[in-house]
């Protein structure tokens, strides 16, 4: 099916998320939609999928303009979508998820579910496209790669002629990404049009037949997929981007953080962190790479003390803090920037000023006896806002009204306004625009140069490579390899996929002087 978007405009208040966007996707084509976080890609696809109604413009399928009142209409017209956050119900089986919304029933008006038919359908689609899914397993029990396949099966059982994949690789290991690409090619060859949304240049180059780049809600170009990464990147960002970060060599001092045989088991009995040991010295950045969900979140939470370790120890500055409370660790000089800043880092309903003292409200100069010193709090806010260039009308504005980048600056400003021994930063630039990204990176490096031990956890390979003085890779709860700063993307990528032998082979290749990156 041929899909055309003509002049789509979508506004949210004063913000123009999509500005007269035109897009043509031919049948049997993989069309990459490339753009930064916040460029308007997902909004466009939600318009296509009937979740939003466009303010202007139209969706045209096989030269016929269509209007969708909801996802039901879009699906009926042959559009399928795999959302970035899977739209699967965890307590349902795969077959139940697949049948939901277009159930086959028997018994007429009573509408009894025909589970056998559903299972048959799943099996049929699975085998036709090589998408192995267990129909009777509960979704909650499946790894994300399989969940994603279930999502694709779900779309295909509805006879999707256009399949939209929204950032499908964010949660996958490199080998799972390879499998996904195979599936995409097979679908394309069978005549399905695929819209592949991504901000990852390598993947786009590897799979796309056509590329459309979106920036700030506008189409800015349709480069060839064979264009260089630098070209694609500058088109995406709108200026020349330094893909590397300028920083002086590290000057490591004493060991500040010493983690030994740490093991974290969650409530469901899953071993999230499995015997992790490492040391970080003052004045170095230790970056932990890995695909989302391999225990990094639990590890950082355990460093702060929000999550309890079942075994092992954490020493900070020579002191055993394994049993210490979060507050004690903060007092000891730990700074912590959580991966989900709105969930864990900020109180959205509090003012910027209040958020800037969230972990210092009970200390001088902000506390006066049992009361608060409102003047000191306001003064602090003014200083921090100035120092970190937080774009906010005033310290009295609610944190929830700031943009993502400014929210992250508030968190950084708060954490860096205390004297730190150790700074733990998880996903420092997730969801940020390039400008904020550079700012955050520079502040992290500056903190390192101050002599703070820094742990950075990131799923973004480029970020890890750019920031790290040493790189560790986590896989299935373990650190399966440590590499020096100059390691190649290929080595780290292989380790992220859990492949230690190939990684060491690659390291050997680098050793013999044939580094290819």
């Amino acid at each position: 099916m041929k899909l055309e978007l003509r002049g789509i405009t979508k506004r949210f208040g004063s913000l123009v998320a999509n500005d007269r966007i035109d897009l043509v996707v031919e049948p049997g084509e993989i069309h990459a939609l490339l753009g930064e976080n916040g460029a308007g890609k997902s909004t466009l696809m939600n318009v296509l999928y009937g979740l939003y109604e466009p303010d202007e413009g139209e969706v045209v399928l096989d030269d016929v303009p269509v209007r969708f009142a909801g996802p039901g209409d879009a699906m009926a017209a042959g559009i399928g979508m795999v959302h970035q956050h899977f739209m699967l119900i965890p307590v349902f089986t795969v077959a139940e998820n697949v049948m939901l919304g277009h159930e086959e029933t028997k018994g007429g008006a009573l509408g009894w579910l025909d589970r056998r038919a559903a299972r048959r359908k799943v099996a049929e689609v699975s085998s036709r496209y090589g998408l192995a899914v267990p129909p009777d397993a509960l979704v909650a029990d499946l790894p994300v790669g399989v969940q994603q396949r279930a999502e694709i099966v779900k779309a295909l059982t509805r006879d999707a002629k256009v399949l939209v994949l929204d950032e499908p690789t964010a949660v996958l290991t490199p080998s799972e990404i390879d499998d996904l690409m195979k599936v995409m090619r097979r679908l394309r060859d069978a005549g399905t049009s695929i819209v592949f949304i991504s901000h990852k240049l390598k993947e786009v180059k590897a799979i796309a037949d056509k590329v459309t780049v979106i920036r700030r809600g506008k189409v800015v170009g349709q480069p060839s997929p064979t264009a260089s990464e630098e070209e694609l990147a500058s088109l995406m960002v709108g200026r020349q981007v330094a893909l590397t970060l300028e920083k002086a060599p590290a000057n490591p001092g004493d060991v500040i953080l010493d983690v030994r045989d740490l093991r974290v088991v969650d409530d469901a009995g899953v071993v999230q962190v499995d015997g992790v040991s490492f040391q970080v010295r003052a004045g170095e950045i230790y970056a932990i790479a890995g695909v989302q969900g391999n225990g990094q979140t639990e590890l950082t939470e355990c460093l702060l003390g929000v999550e309890a370790a079942s075994e092992g120890s954490v020493h900070i500055g020579g002191r055993d803090v394994s049993q210490a409370s979060v507050r004690d660790r903060l007092r000891l000089g730990v700074g912590y920037v959580p991966e989900d800043r709105l969930h864990d880092g900020l109180v959205g309903g509090f003012t910027v000023a209040e958020n800037l003292i969230l972990d210092m409200y009970d200390r001088t100069p902000f506390a006066k006896g049992v009361g608060l010193d409102l003047r000191a709090i306001a003064g602090n806010a003014a200083e921090r806002i100035d120092e970190f260039d937080v774009r906010t009308p005033s310290g009295g504005a609610l944190a929830s009204t700031l943009s993502g980048g400014n929210q992250q600056k508030v968190v950084l400003a708060r954490e860096m306004s205390r004297p730190l021994k150790l700074l733990v930063v998880a996903q420092p630039t997730r969801g940020l625009d390039v400008g904020s990204m550079e700012f955050v990176h520079r502040r992290i490096v500056a903190e390192r140069d101050n002599g703070t031990a820094v742990v950075v956890v990131s799923t973004e390979l480029d970020e890890v490579l750019g920031l790290a003085d040493r790189i560790a890779v986590m896989y299935r709860g373990r650190i399966i390899g440590e590499l020096p700063a100059g390691a190649s993307a290929q080595e780290v990528g292989l380790l992220m996929a859990g492949s230690t032998s190939q990684a060491s082979a690659a390291a050997g290749a680098r050793g013999s002087g044939s580094g290819d990156e």
């Binding site: 039901g72 739209m87 119900i89 267990p134 029990d141 790894p143 790669g145 071993v271 709860g477």
Partner: protein
């Protein structure tokens, strides 16, 4: 391909026995041991040696007489107490799966109840307990609770918290009595009760789903509103002229030929009025439909993950509307059972917390129709027992208030996780801002 497949279906992380569950096991096991010891020492050793506990199982006029069940009171209590202690020890040492724990808890409750009954009959020699009567009373008292709990399940499975069951039942009881009396027709009364319950359900639905009002707060306010409305009309109208406005016709008990002659079960289940039979149908229908029909699948989807349901074209809000209103109808029927079903006049605030016990049954029964019905029966039994004990003369007087507390205490224990974690539908109480 198949090798890859099996490899990838393996969990990404290793799964071990949860360390935290050791503590949970210890707590729940110890509770069982303590309860068992209580049976053993309190009910067993606390009852007179040599007394017999006599349970009558049929009514004097029954066609087929069932001989009374006679147990040696003290021995029985002791044996049952020991069983509960052993179950507790087993729980501590072995743990057991979640499913096994259901049976353990069920068996323990039965054991405690039986040993308690044995003990209660040793106050004076020769007392016998009309067990059949007690069970009949249980059903009678459980009917509104079961219907209320089913209403709660219907709402909450679709993601709307229903704290207004009390109000819906009260509205049903009120409308049933008023319209039933004025129309001189029980059927009209029941219809009115359904409509009244449904209207309160619709009120809940509009404010919760359309206007996104917090559902707990809303439920509380609706309860106050219904209490005020019915109380007002009662005082202004019904109390002044009971004959014209508040003498609802009752329903006849209908014996089902054949089934009603089955010993014990016959008189218990098949000599009931129309509301009770409707309740049987509802229990079975809701249980089947929730898990096997298209409506049920969609309802559960909407209650677990409304956005996912929306993306496959399910109208989330409409589904919730329908469920909340149907829930209101069912709760209204529960209210009718209090007036028309029992041929009793309406009284101010006559539900008197039954709606909240029904809510407790929903939670205690883990949001499943079967569990909720079981919990409602258990709570009905506690209520019935309280009536019976007052004239049996137990060895030590038991204040009726403590029995009346049992449903509430049991629910607190349930939500505190002593019988395993209870888990509400994931999106229960979260309004959906979409379609």
């Amino acid at each position: 391909m198949s090798a890859v497949q099996t490899e990838e279906l393996v969990e990404v992380h290793e799964v071990v026995d949860v360390a935290a569950s050791k503590k949970a096991r210890l707590i729940s096991g110890s509770v069982l041991v303590v309860v068992g010891l209580l049976c053993l020492l309190g009910f067993g050793l606390g009852s007179h040696a040599g007394y017999e506990a006599r349970f009558q199982l049929s009514q004097p006029g029954a066609r087929i007489r069932v001989p009374a069940l006679v147990l040696p009171a003290r021995i029985t209590s002791i044996v049952l107490g020991v069983i509960v202690v052993l179950l507790g020890l087993w729980r501590i040492t072995r743990g057991g799966s979640r499913r096994a724990m259901h049976w353990v808890v069920g068996a323990s409750i039965v054991a405690v109840v039986v040993s308690f009954l044995c003990w209660s009959l040793t106050g004076t020699r020769g007392t016998s307990l009309d067990l059949l009567g007690l069970l009949q009373q249980t059903i009678f008292l459980a009917v509104p609770l079961i219907l209320g709990a089913l209403a709660g399940v219907l709402c909450e499975r679709s993601g709307v918290i229903n704290v207004a069951i009390e109000g819906q039942m009260l509205a049903g009881a009120f409308a049933g009595a008023l319209i039933g009396t004025v129309a001189h027709n029980a059927g009209a009364g029941i219809l009115a009760a359904l409509i009244a319950g449904g209207l309160i359900g619709a009120l809940l639905a509009v404010f919760a789903i359309r206007y996104l009002v917090n559902q707990v707060v809303l439920g509380v306010v609706i309860n106050v509103l219904v209490l005020g409305l019915t109380g007002y009309v009662y005082d202004a109208l019904m109390a002044r002229d009971q004959n014209t406005y508040n003498t609802p016709p009752g329903l006849h008990a209908i014996s089902i030929p054949g089934l009603s002659d089955i010993p014990i079960l016959g008189p218990l289940l098949f000599q009931q009025n129309a509301i009770v039979y409707a309740m049987y149908v509802l229990i079975i229908a809701i249980d089947l439909a929730l898990f096997r029909s298209r409506w049920g699948l969609r309802t559960r989807a909407v209650g677990e993950h409304p956005k996912a349901a929306d993306t496959v074209g399910i109208k989330v809000r409409r589904t919730r509307f329908v469920n909340v209103i149907v829930g209101g109808l069912v709760a209204g029927l529960g209210g009718a059972s209090l007036t028309i079903g029992s041929a009793l006049p309406f009284g101010k605030g006559m539900t008197n917390g039954k709606g909240f016990i029904a809510l407790a049954a929903v939670i205690f029964g883990r949001w499943s129709p079967r569990g909720a019905v079981g919990a409602a029966l258990l709570f009905g039994f506690a209520d019935a027992l309280q009536n019976v004990l007052s004239f049996i003369g137990t060895p030590v007087a038991i204040p009726s208030q403590f029995l009346a507390m049992l449903p509430y205490l049991a629910t607190i224990l349930a939500v505190a996780g002593l019988v395993g974690r209870v888990r509400a539908p994931a999106a229960d109480g979260e309004p959906y801002v979409g379609r």
